[in-house]
Symmetry: none
Subunit: 141 residues, 4 copies
C-alpha cells in the first residue's frame, strides 16, 4: 500500500486567493484551477471577466503540472521541433499543456497538487500561478 499526500479543499482555496489577488493587482480577470496530485480538480474559480476558453485551459495546465510533476513552461522549453519531446502537447487527448501558467505545488519535496492560470498572457498567467503558491507557502510557515 502507498501513502500519498495531497492538497485539501482548504489548501486549494488558499492557492486561489493568492492567485486572485495578483490577478486583481495586474488588472486581468483570470480562470484559476487547482488539482490534486493525480491531476483531478479540487477547486475552480472564473473571476468575473475570465475567458470561457480558459476554463479548460487552466484545468489542463494544472493537470499537466501535477500529474507530470513539471511546470508547463518547462514543457514549453522542450516542445520545439527537433527536440525529442516535440509534440508532447497533443498527448492525452491534448490535455498536456506546454503553455506557461501551470505549476506543480510541492510540500517537503513531494508534489501534492497543481495550479493552472489562464486568461492573460502566458507571462501574466505564470506570475499569478507563482503568487498563488507563494501565498500558500506563507500560510505553512
Amino acid at each position: 500500500m502507498l501513502t500519498v499526500n495531497r492538497l485539501s479543499h482548504a489548501d486549494a482555496l488558499i492557492l486561489i486567493r493568492g492567485a486572485r489577488e495578483k490577478a486583481r493587482e495586474i488588472g486581468v480577470p483570470m480562470c484559476i484551477s487547482i488539482v490534486d496530485e493525480s491531476g483531478n480538480l479540487i477547486a475552480f474559480e472564473r473571476m468575473d471577466g475570465g475567458k470561457v476558453t480558459s476554463i479548460t485551459i487552466s484545468a489542463d495546465k494544472a493537470y499537466t503540472a501535477a500529474a507530470a510533476r513539471k511546470a508547463t513552461h518547462d514543457y514549453n522549453a522542450v516542445n520545439v521541433p527537433g527536440n525529442l519531446a516535440f509534440g508532447i502537447h497533443t498527448e492525452v487527448g491534448g490535455r498536456i499543456s506546454s503553455v506557461g501558467g501551470g505549476l506543480p505545488v510541492s510540500v517537503n519535496g513531494e508534489v501534492v497538487g497543481g495550479i493552472g492560470l489562464s486568461s492573460g498572457t502566458p507571462a501574466q498567467d505564470m506570475e499569478c500561478a507563482e503568487a498563488g503558491i507563494a501565498h500558500f507557502y506563507s500560510t505553512l510557515e
Copy 2:
C-alpha cells in the same frame, strides 16, 4: 486469409521486465505499455512513482510504434515545420506520438508488437524501451 504473428501475454511480461530493470537502474520509475501488432494493449505497468500522464503517453507511444511500424523518435525526426510529415502527431485523435520512447518489436523482420515508455526524459524512455527489447531478444536465443 492472412496469418499474423503477435506478442503473447507472456512475451509482454518479458518486455516489461527488461524495461523495468533498466528503469530501476537509472532510478526513474516508469509507465510501461506493451501492445500487439494492431496497437491494442496487452499489458501495462505503472511502477510506483510513474507519472499519471504517462499512462496514456506510454500506451500511445507503443500504439504508434506497432501500428505504424515506426519508432516514435523516427516520427520526431520528420515532424518539423517544412517537412511534409509535419503535424503527424495530431492524427488519429492525437494518438500518434512523435516523442521518443516508443519502439516497434520485430521478430524475423515482422512487427509483432510495440513497447512504449514514459515518465523520464525522452532519452531515458528510449533507453528503457531498448532494454525491454534487448531482454526479450535474449530470451528468444
Copy 3:
C-alpha cells in the same frame, strides 16, 4: 493537507493474480484492469484470448468503481428508466460503467483502488473481480 492510501503496483499484481486464476478456472480469458483510488491505471493484463473491446471496458469499470466508490453492478441497479440516476453511464465521456464487473477495493473501510474485469458475461466478470479481491485480502491476513 490530506493523506490518502492507495494500492501499490505490488498490490495490483496480487489482485490480477487472483482474478486470472478464477478466469482460468472458468475457462474465459479476460482483460483485467487495476486502478488507484483516483481511478488511474496501475496495471493491466489481457490474457491471451481476451477481447480487444474489453481493454477499455475493464479499465472503465475499474475507474468507475474506484473513483465513484461504487460497484458497477450497483450503478446497474439504479440505471433504469424512471430512476433519478438513469443515464449515469454516459457521463464523464461515457467512462462511467453500469455493466457488472467493476468493484472498489477497500482496506480498513477506505477505498484504495478498483478492479475491472471484462470479456465474459457480466456475471463471469463479477465472479473474477471478486476472486481478485478475495485473493488480495488473503494476503493481508
Copy 4:
C-alpha cells in the same frame, strides 16, 4: 508468440460484394464496413445514396462484432434496463454498438473479422450483413 488469422483485403471485397447485392435487391443503398479480427477497418463502401451517419455506424458495428466476437443484435438483446450488461453501448467512447447489423466473421470456429451494415432498418442491415457472410462462405467451399 501468438498466430492469428484475419481477413485479407480480397476477402473483404467478397464480403462487400455479397452485402451489396442484397442491398440492391431490397433497394436500400448501404454503408458497408469490413474489419479485421482486431476491429480495424480493411475495406469500406458507401453505395450511392448511403447515409453519411452510417459511415461511422457501420464501422462501429463491424468493430464491435469482430473485437468483442459477438453480433451487435446479441448485445441488443442484453442491453435492456435491469440486465447486468445494460449500458454497454456507450463503452469505448460509444463505439460498442447494440444496433442490429454487425456480425463477426468466423472461419473454422475462429473470428477472423467483422462486417457492419448501416442505412436501412436494423432488420435490413442484418439481412445484408448475413448475405455478405453467406457469399463469403460460398467462395470458401
